[in-house]
Amino acid sequence: MSASLHGSSERAAFLRRRQRNERWAEWGLGAAASLAVLITLGILLTLIIESLPFFQAVGLWDFLFDPEWTPLFERAHFGIMPLLSATLLTGFIAMSVAIPLGVVTAVWLSEFAAARTREWAKPALELLSSIPTVVFGYFALLFVTPALQKLVPELPTFNLLAPGLVIGLMIIPYVSSLSEDALRAVPMNLREAAFSLGSGRLRTALWVVLPAAVSGVTASAVLALSRALGETMVVAIAAGQQAQLVFDPREGAATLTSYIAQVAMGDVPRHSVAYQSLFAVGLSLFLLTLVFNVAGHWVRNRFREAH
């Protein structure tokens, strides 16, 4: 240490103290950062440990392939299929709204809209994702469903169509903002080349820019789907509580998330089957969304390498 060369023990002490403080700071900050890993592990371990007794009692085979979910009946069945079918059907409806609207909006924002238009359009889109989901649930049950009932008279109060459409609306910003980032990342000279050949903006956007950004756009759709599958309040309010295999969006049914919310609303004693089933359903939901999240990030990273 150079301080001792100057012969000042005070300076040496100062440097030692400073170095100790530095080490403390780095330690503290590092500990805070490692929380992210701890929470991830915590989620996985909690879900597995708390649902272990459930899987021991029910068995994985029945859980995956029993077509009935009737945990509160005397002859209880614990097949995940009904909840899964409602979740996937809702996700499908949501995506059929969010993908076309989100992608068109992204193309429009990135290739057509003037800077001043973007200034109001982007915050307006962000507003969609900032409104509390419970309010969207209210909207689905008391506005969208009655409106749909005018078109489809036999539609029951609780159905999957209305919450699916509303969730689709909610996740438009997820599709549009990530897609727009991908479209804007496409090098300008590709567009210039197309323009030089006499293409209009639309032809350039659809045949040059969009294909170049296809992995980013795909990633945005996959990540948004994961969002849709994990959405709770809209389905908990507007989709009904009956667990049943569904293929018809006009029917109401409980999803993975709305089952958890519905059971948790009641008083659930620990060690009861209902309590354990919460974690089994939660684990299924976590793994389902994890698959889509990982797939989305994988596709996106591949696209990053391309440019």
């Binding site: 700071a25 992210a36 879900l47 429009w108 509390p132 649930g137 209009g200 956007a205």
Partner: protein, 307 residues
């Protein structure tokens, strides 16, 4: 329109021009439809809830009589929960962001942290509720309390705070750090006196957006067991005698605004739907206000930075 030219001055193929205009109109139309739906949502809430929006609504406890019910317990609960959330998520999230941006060397450890944070951001919020139910409520015996709810929401918004801290730190010019190092400042001194103050507006924006998300979150709070009918307030955090602060409120049962909305929507009696709508209006206004403040902070910082 054979003579139309594109931005490169090239003559366009026949029909190109009109297709461009058509798509531009389509994009604008979709934006308008989205805004219209948002407006419909809010107008519907307003019409349904307007007659309940008065000061008494803020001063009364929930009641079996819809016209006497209020949101006192709910908004006080929301404020207290948010205090815990901010108290936990802001220091930890900012510290983690600083570590990743200013300290961590690129390597396996920081890659693991990155993956964890990315993954946490995609975990459905209701899964955080299950983590809290298993770990905080049952495991650590924190109970169905304000503390449990606050920490749950803190975990939920932690990735948002970390990401916005990192983005804000990334905009700090490297020259500033080098100047500080050049004058003999240590790493921590550089962070504390130079990088962090420069990044404050960006961090603040992220924190406000995170808290506005926390205020509207319903699902995780349902899972840890917020009560939906509470006719008392948690003990006050400030007392008139020494030591002036008390922490009993942390362990108090509670409810929050979105739970109150959900509970009222679930009541079959439409009179309660008016209460839900009124509380929904307040929730939406809170969110819009917080988003507005976040946007304003961001714009102001930008103007300052670029003159």
């Amino acid at each position: 329109m054979g003579g139309s030219r594109n931005s490169r001055g090239k003559i366009l193929h026949r029909g190109e021009h009109w297709r461009d205009i058509g798509f531009e109109a389509l994009g604008l139309l979709i934006m308008l439809v989205i805004l219209l739906v948002l407006a419909a949502l809010f107008v519907q809430l307003w019409i349904d809830g307007a007659q309940r929006l008065n000061l008494d609504f803020l001063r009364q406890f929930p009641s079996r009589h819809a016209d006497q019910a209020g949101i006192l317990a709910a908004w006080v609960g929301s404020v207290l929960v948010l205090l815990v959330t901010a108290g936990a998520a802001v220091p930890l999230g900012v510290a983690a962001g600083i570590y990743l941006e200013e300290y961590a060397a690129r390597g396996r450890w920081s890659a693991l942290l990155e993956v964890s944070i990315g993954n946490l951001a995609g975990v459905p919020s209701i899964v955080y509720g299950l983590l809290a139910l298993g770990l905080l409520v049952q495991g650590l015996h924190l109970g169905q309390s304000v503390l449990s709810a606050g920490l749950t929401l803190a975990m939920l918004i932690l990735p948002m705070v970390i990401v916005s801290t990192r983005e804000a730190l990334r905009t700090v010019p490297q020259a500033l750090r080098e100047a500080s190092f050049g004058l003999g400042a240590s790493r921590w001194q550089t962070v504390w006196h130079h990088s962090l103050p420069q990044a404050t507006p960006g961090i603040l924006t992220g924190v406000i957006l995170g808290l506005s998300r926390a205020i509207g979150e319903t699902a995780p709070v349902i899972v840890i067991g917020a009560l939906s009918f509470i006719a008392f307030l948690p003990p006050s955090p400030v007392s008139s005698s020494l030591p002036f602060l008390n922490f009993d409120w942390l362990y108090s049962p509670f409810t929050v605004l979105p739970i109150q909305v959900f509970h009222w929507i679930s009541r079959p009696n439409p009179a309660f739907h008016a209460n839900a709508a009124a509380a929904g209006v307040i929730l939406v206004l809170l969110n819009v206000a917080m988003n507005g403040v976040a946007l304003w902070v961001r714009q102001r910082a930008r103007k300052r930075q670029f003159g």
